[in-house]
Each structure stands twice: as C-alpha cells, then as structure tokens.
C-alpha cells in the first residue's frame, strides 16, 4: 500500500517528524540531528536581543543552511495579545505565514489556555496566518479551532518537556476518529521513539518533538531512532494492527495436533 504524503496548508512533506531546535549541546549537534531525523520542518522562536550581539543572525544562518521549512512558535506567551504580536513579528523575521500557536494557561503543566488559543487563532487566521495550534485532545476545543480556520491540530501527548508519552491514549484515539480528514500532529510530551510510534499507530499524521532528541545522551543517534520509529508506526497504521483480545488464542494451528491433543497432565 502506497502512503499518501503529508500535506500541511498545501505544503507536501515526506517526513512525518517535526523537530524543535532548542536545548542542543551545540549548533553542530543540532545540525547533525536535524539531518539524522530526516525532518523537513523545524520549530524556532523569537526572543529579546541581549547585549547588542548578533547571536540571532548566526542561529538563523545555521537554520537556513539546513534547507528545512521553519515553523515559528509563540512559546511562553500567556495572553492573546502577546501571542498575536509574537506571531506578527515572527512572520516578518522568518518570512513565513506558518505559526505554531501557543497560549500557555498554567505553569506546572504548561497546558494551553484553550479559550485564549481559540481567540488568538481566529485573529491570526483573519490576518492571513496558517495556524498550527498547540492544544489539548478536547473534541469541543478542536471543533472551535477548526471553526476559527485552523486546518491542522496539534494536541499534546503529555506536558511539554515531560517525556511521559501519550497521557490520554483514549482521548487521542477519539480525536483521530472524530476528525479523519484533519492533519493531526502529536506535539509535546514524547519521551522515547516507542511513544512516537504509538502516536503514529493510532493514525496520527506526524509527531513534533524537541527535548527527547536534544536531551538524549547522543542526540544524533536518537534523531535517527525517532525517524525509524515514526516510519515504523506509520507503516503499522497503514497495515492495520490486529485487535487486542482478552484471552489467549493459539497462533500455531490446533488441527492435526499430535497425540490427539487430549493429554492434560
């Protein structure tokens, strides 16, 4: 079975792994990890210039050299106003209408303020942005984000940076079933390649992660591991996994069992 390529706001992608660029031990390791991950989209941010240096220029030069598409985020924004202004500044600096929209509502879990998220998404869509909302697995919020004009949804797996995997597998499965034709990306909380494979097996279209690669003992090797796991999970989804059963079922044929199969000793 041939897979159809992933299409996000009209952009066709081969890779189903979107990667963050933060927390790497060095720019060289970041660059090598992005290559090893075979990723085509990386997330970036905007922060205050500190000390009149040119650190921003050199980081942007590195990213441009990788030949990948950038997805600027509004990480850390806690209000609609902050998120909208950050998105507008990012559009000018990075030259893209794509934005990963975060409106953070709670410090311990960094969970989205979904009310602010829906409001900011509507403002940005009307302003011409292609919004990738970082949201929860809540179906009603998802409906409202789509109503606001989002064409992609990015529910969390677990709190940002926690590495705990898919906290609400049932909820994510329900979201997938409810919106069969909307590109869904699990964003945040992925810790290991098996978590990413699980998301893909559920039928998610892609995975976005950062810390799990950047903070690995060997980020480049881990990037490769994630690329393979995501490919394996996607293949498994397309292949159609078996349904789990409560009781054992022999896999070896029972017909023709030697000794009549009657001995229970």
């Amino acid at each position: 079975m041939r897979d159809r390529p992933l299409s996000l706001y009209g952009v066709t992608l081969t890779s189903r792994l979107l990667a963050g660029t933060a927390q790497y031990p060095s720019p060289a390791i970041l660059a090598a990890a992005v290559k090893a991950a075979r990723t085509e989209v990386v997330t970036v941010s905007l922060r205050r210039e500190a000390g009149g240096g040119r650190a921003g220029d050199s980081f942007w030069g590195l990213i441009r050299g990788l030949g990948v598409k950038v997805l600027p985020n509004t990480a850390g924004c806690r209000s609609v106003k902050e998120a909208v202004t950050t998105a507008q500044t990012a559009r000018e600096v990075f030259g893209t209408t794509w934005v990963k929209l975060e409106v953070i509502g709670e410090d311990d879990t960094l969970q989205p303020d979904v009310f602010g998220l829906v409001e900011a998404a509507g403002i940005l869509v009307r302003d011409g942005f292609s919004v990738f909302p970082y949201t929860t697995e809540d179906l009603v919020v998802a409906e409202k984000l789509l109503g606001a004009g989002c064409e992609v949804l990015m529910p969390w797996g677990a709190p940002i940076g926690s590495g705990r995997g898919l906290n609400n597998r049932f909820g994510l499965k329900a979201l997938r079933a409810h919106f069969p034709n909307v590109p869904l990306i699990v964003d945040a909380g992925i810790g290991t390649p098996s978590h990413a494979a699980e998301a893909m097996e559920l039928g998610y279209d892609a995975v976005l992660l950062n810390t799990a690669i950047a903070k690995a003992g060997d980020p480049v090797m881990m990037a490769d591991a994630f690329a393979r796991a995501i490919e394996a999970g996607r293949l498994a989804y397309l292949a159609g996994p078996m349904e789990p059963r409560d009781m054992a079922e022999p896999s070896t044929p029972t017909a023709g069992l030697p000794f009549g199969g009657a001995v229970r000793a």
Binding site: G20, T21, A22, Q23, Y24, L30, T43, V44, S45, L46, R47, R48, E49, A50, G52, R54, A55, G56, D57, F59, W60, I63, P72, N73, A75, K81, E82, T85, T86, Q88, T89, A90, E92, V93, F94, I160, G161, N210, T211
Partner: protein, 65 residues
C-alpha cells in the same frame, strides 16, 4: 527621553523607532520590533515616533520547541 528596551530602562536621544535601532547598533541586524505590545513593521519604523515611557521590544531569531 527615558524608554524601556527589552525590559531595561534606557535614556535615549532617538525620537523614532528607526533612529533608536540605529542608536543601539541594531540597524543592520535581523530584528523585529514591537512598541507597547504592538508589532511595528520594518517599513513603518521611520515614521513611528517614540515618547517618554514607551516600551520597545527588539526581538531576534532563537531556538524553539
């Protein structure tokens, strides 16, 4: 005139946003600007006046997740 730039109080001579970037040696850097929480396009910096107490943000590309 005293304004805040990236959260720090500064005494500046510039009376426009463009002049401020020049004064702070940002003019050729890749930066985006906001004034009092509103985005100001690069093309509008020359015609954006500054007044005492304004809060300016000068933002640059950074790593992100």
């Amino acid at each position: 005139m005293q304004i805040r730039v990236n959260g720090k109080a500064l005494e500046v001579a510039a009376t426009t946003l463009a002049a401020l970037l020049n004064e702070l040696d940002y003019e050729d850097a890749m930066v985006a600007t906001a004034l009092n929480q509103n985005f100001i396009r690069k093309a509008d910096r020359m015609t954006t006046p500054l007044k005492d107490g304004d809060a300016v943000e000068v933002l640059v590309p950074k790593q992100g997740g």
